[in-house]
């Protein structure tokens, strides 16, 4: 067991009796906004930097990004474009505290040349930087408050396969500065048995000022939540526990205070979605009350002290609901 991991388990064991101090146990509604965009059949948006980021265009390759603030006013619009590409798949997108938009995916020319990338678009939409990352293919991306980028992915050869020509000891979680320079690679590919944990469907990633949080899981609810601090320490926690089998995670998000939340849909389709907050000292996720009901929810992100959700049925996809931790 890695030293940092064993230390984190030891810290949990010592701290369990005082675990409840400072733990958010409930949320209160802090507002809602309806953005002028029809989301039916579109990618769900993400929330970051006090705005919701919307991806428009084909599902797999959206090429138009818009941002709407807390009042529903449009604050961002930019096309995403790689000159010479015939096909650009966007797996993940996120918005940073300063309004910068980050993307990750793969782009191909019509003659079959292609490579994976991370990219960012400036807050005014005027500048775009694309960083080729081959052989590393990022599938999920998050922006930290300092503008650095965190990703989850794996190395692939030029045929898009792991069967040959890749380093299975290379890290799956990576940290980049804005120029694309690697700040760190973490968690070797060889330590993740099931490669589906590294997909955009089975990985949820969020970034705080001093750490990234990665929840990875499979359809049998096996997985873990891992926190990687900027200085390289790694702490592993169990997943949120529910009675349900085949649960679906609808997002993780940090607030500025460092609390991390995870949303879980109950797959029986009848009971309310659930929200959990990580109690690090107890090493477990504890339920959090939320004054909202629905069979499903998506936690779109956190900004400041606020968490943004869509949920339903009964609420429009275009209505973003905000909640803050209850101070009582």
């Amino acid at each position: 067991m890695p030293r940092t991991q064993s230390l984190s388990y030891l810290a949990m064991a010592i701290a369990v009796p005082t675990a409840m101090l400072g733990q958010p146990s409930g949320l209160v509604a802090s507002g809602a906004v309806t953005v002028p965009f029809a989301f039916e059949g579109k990618r769900p948006p993400v929330w970051g930097g006090n705005a919701v980021l919307v991806a428009d265009g084909p599902l797999v390759s959206p090429g138009n990004f818009m941002g709407f603030n807390h009042d529903g006013r449009q604050v961002f619009q930019a096309g995403f474009f790689i000159p010479g590409a015939s096909n650009t798949a966007v797996d993940g997108f996120a918005r940073g505290a300063d309004g910068t938009v980050a993307l990750c995916g793969r782009s191909y020319a019509s003659d079959g040349r292609g490579a994976p990338f991370i990219a960012w678009i400036s807050a005014d939409g005027n500048s775009q930087q694309v960083i080729r990352t081959e052989p590393y293919s990022p599938r999920v991306i998050a922006v930290a408050p300092d503008g650095t980028l965190w990703t989850v992915g794996k190395e692939l050869n030029s045929d898009g396969s792991e069967k040959s020509g890749v380093n299975l000891d290379a890290g799956v979680v990576r940290h980049f500065d804005r120029t694309g320079k690697s700040l760190g690679t973490f968690i070797p590919r060889s330590s993740i048995q099931d490669s589906t944990h590294l997909t955009n469907q089975q990985s949820l990633l969020a970034a705080a000022a001093d750490r990234a949080g990665w929840l990875h899981f499979d359809r049998s609810n096996r997985g873990a939540y891992v926190e990687i601090s900027s200085d390289g320490n790694i702490a592993t926690y169990p997943m949120p526990q529910t009675q349900a089998k085949g649960m679906r995670f609808g997002g993780i998000a940090f607030t500025d205070s460092g609390d991390v939340f995870a949303e879980v849909d109950n797959p029986d389709g009848n009971s309310n979605f659930s929200l959990f907050a990580l109690n690090r000292s107890a090493g477990q996720w504890l339920p959090v009350r939320i004054p909202a009901s629905g069979r499903w929810a998506l936690l779109l992100g956190g900004s400041g002290n606020e968490l943004a959700f869509t949920y339903g049925p009964g609420s429009s996809y275009s209505t973003i609901h905000f909640f803050v931790p209850d101070s009582k």
Binding site: I82, R132, E134, S158, T179, N200, P267, G269, W296
Partner: protein, 165 residues
């Protein structure tokens, strides 16, 4: 009715107005695009130095996006067709009940979308074939998405398809 020049003019204006009404929002493309390699070296083009691949070319030509609509009970419609297309025929019961099929397809890429359709609410995973990773297929999970009444389809998930070339 006699067709006169003014009639044609009015008709043209109406068609033009209709075209604008239905035009997609304009894309504000960035003025400055900088492309760099993994080592930070500036590149003239994103594709500089990459090898041409006939295999990738053929695969991308065959890329297809599939977007099953929400389906009412008793009908498998688009979803069934998509499942068949992916080699997952027979994965949906008529009453909207799902069961797991085998892993099918290669180079599958999934993305989340909001369900669209009457009486339907929630996220669902749609995607494409020939857009993802080599041995990445998809299978149907044992749960409905978008709620059971009516169901929108079954939860599609990634799986590792060892049979991919």
């Amino acid at each position: 009715m006699r067709i006169t020049a003014p009639t044609i003019g009015v008709f043209g204006l109406a068609v033009g107005a209709l075209a604008l009404w239905h035009a997609p929002p304009s894309r504000a493309l960035p003025r400055h695009i900088r492309i760099v390699s993994a080592s930070g070296r500036p590149l003239g083009s994103f594709f500089d130095g990459l090898k041409t691949s006939q295999k990738q070319r053929a695969r991308l030509k065959a890329m297809k996006e599939w977007r099953p609509a929400c389906i009412p009970e008793q009908k498998v419609g688009y979803f069934g067709r998509a499942a068949t297309f992916l080699g997952l025929g027979g994965t949906v019961h008529a009453q909207g009940y799902c069961y797991s099929g085998s892993c099918g397809g290669c180079y599958v890429q999934l993305v989340m979308s909001y369900c669209s359709g009457p009486s339907c609410s929630g996220p669902i995973w749609y995607g494409s074939t020939n857009g993802g990773e080599a041995d990445q297929g998809t299978a149907v999970f044992g749960s409905l998405v978008c709620g059971p009444n009516p169901p929108c389809g079954c939860l599609q998930g990634y799986c590792t398809n060892d049979d991919c070339p």
